[in-house]
Symmetry: C2
Subunit: 269 residues, 2 copies
């Protein structure tokens, strides 16, 4: 039965686990097949052509394991590769950008929306295009925050240096009067506390991971693809490098505990 | 004539250009064939197995273009892959770790040597092993500085945040009384100013890029491989992603100007 197949989820590395977590919480019966491209992380500073090539390899790998849908749990890959993968793959594909944009457009009152993301995602301009296609009158202000990913990966979420960088990155957006701020990179929800403090109480933070899980649930329901059997969920994880490090990071984020055997290596080349 | 073949130089990305620069200055007649693995950068946080696999692919590509020697202009790749490549390749291979270690051992008076590098290089322990094999009595103190590479790549060399991180990374080493500090990552020479200020005048900085160019010159001379013809040097550059960005960075570092046509893309997969 197609309904009982797992959902494929992929990211450049560990960041997409914030999306996997939201899917697990919203759809606890579903099984996930996750791929983290830890041998080639990060994607945020790489070209469109390269990100599409990597995304295509991974999506084909997931399809070869019979998934019923694919979630691109990486903003850069969503920005660059969603259209290509949607056109090429035999299963429905969801990115994190559209659901995040939809939520932001619904929330803003002033019409001034900030987007923080990697250089690649900002350069793509995709959040702005989606947002204006939903609400032609919104003003979108993008800001690349290239140091946030390494700061998170070094565990410096609550460090003064991270706060300094957050102030520097957010000040230009705040001076534009944004009332809604999209956390446009899957690592950034791990910085919610410091970003929220710097942005202040008048700015609503939008977490595309949460919105994507909602959109996925409604897409699966609409297509009659929700899991029907009562077997417990069973998740599998693949990485292209560093299984052990990935497992430790995953166990600090996910609502379930991964054993060693749950994480396998798959190398492309 | 073998003597007139180019020297192959490779790195995970742009950092190895600091090594290419020193080679161009010391051996201005020689031609370089440089490969920067910008589609998979950085190497510093990836596993030994993956770094060896990437290094092997690149070294074979360089050999397929007939080089007379190969310089591994990346500390992480030198630490993990030098022995493998030396054993497998038909040309002499030099890494940046041994020349850096040799210089540090010759300079230190107190015998306390600090090494700053990526997590991968520090984890490999290779600087310590080389240093102790040269001078059994030295004490080697390693410190991973994972934020230095993204800070350099964001152009924040002279930023207060970089100074804060330099103070944080160097304080434990300075408290051990190191009098010699190896800049064990090819990006770090670009931070010489701030590192020198924080370390103070009593600490000598060792730039393995400079030492490697010296070692290369003496190795080529010893094997009778120095260029003999009077044709001008002609350098070629290959990257796995982002030719334009690479060229801009190269033109800010190298003592020669690269044209668009000098940088080509080579994709592995």
């Amino acid at each position: 039965m197609t309904n009982d197949l797992p959902i494929g989820v992929f990211d450049s590395g560990v960041g997409g686990l914030t999306v996997a977590k939201e899917i697990m919480l919203r759809l606890p019966k579903e099984s996930l097949l996750y791929f983290g491209d830890t041998a080639r992380v990060p994607y945020g500073n790489k070209s469109e052509e390269t990100v599409i090539a990597y995304s295509r390899q991974i999506a084909r790998f997931l399809c070869s394991h019979s998934v019923k849908a694919i979630v691109i749990a990486c903003n850069t890959a969503s920005a660059f590769a969603l259209d290509t993968l949607s056109a090429e793959l035999p299963v429905p594909v969801i990115g994190v950008v559209k659901p995040g944009a939809k939520a932001a457009a619904a929330i803003t009152k002033t019409g001034n929306i900030g987007v923080i993301a990697t250089s690649g995602t900002i350069r793509s301009g995709l959040y702005g295009r989606y947002l204006r296609s939903i609400s032609p009158d919104v003003h979108v202000f993008g800001q690349a925050c290239p140091l946030f990913v390494p700061l998170v990966e070094e565990g410096l979420q609550n460090d003064p240096v991270t706060r300094t960088m957050a102030e520097r990155y957010l000040t230009p957006l705040l001076s534009k009067g944004v009332d809604t701020l999209v956390l446009g990179c899957t690592h950034y929800p791990l910085l919610t506390e410091v970003i929220g403090e710097v942005a202040g109480p008048d700015v609503t933070l939008v977490n595309p991971a949460y919105e994507t899980a909602k959109e996925l649930a409604s897409m699966l329901a609409g297509r009659g693809l929700l899991k029907t059997s009562d077997t417990p969920s069973a998740h599998r994880f693949f990485v292209s490098d560093g299984e052990e490090q990935f497992r430790r990071f995953a166990n600090s984020i996910l609502p379930c505990e991964l054993e060693e055997a749950d994480v396998n290596r798959k190398v492309f080349s």
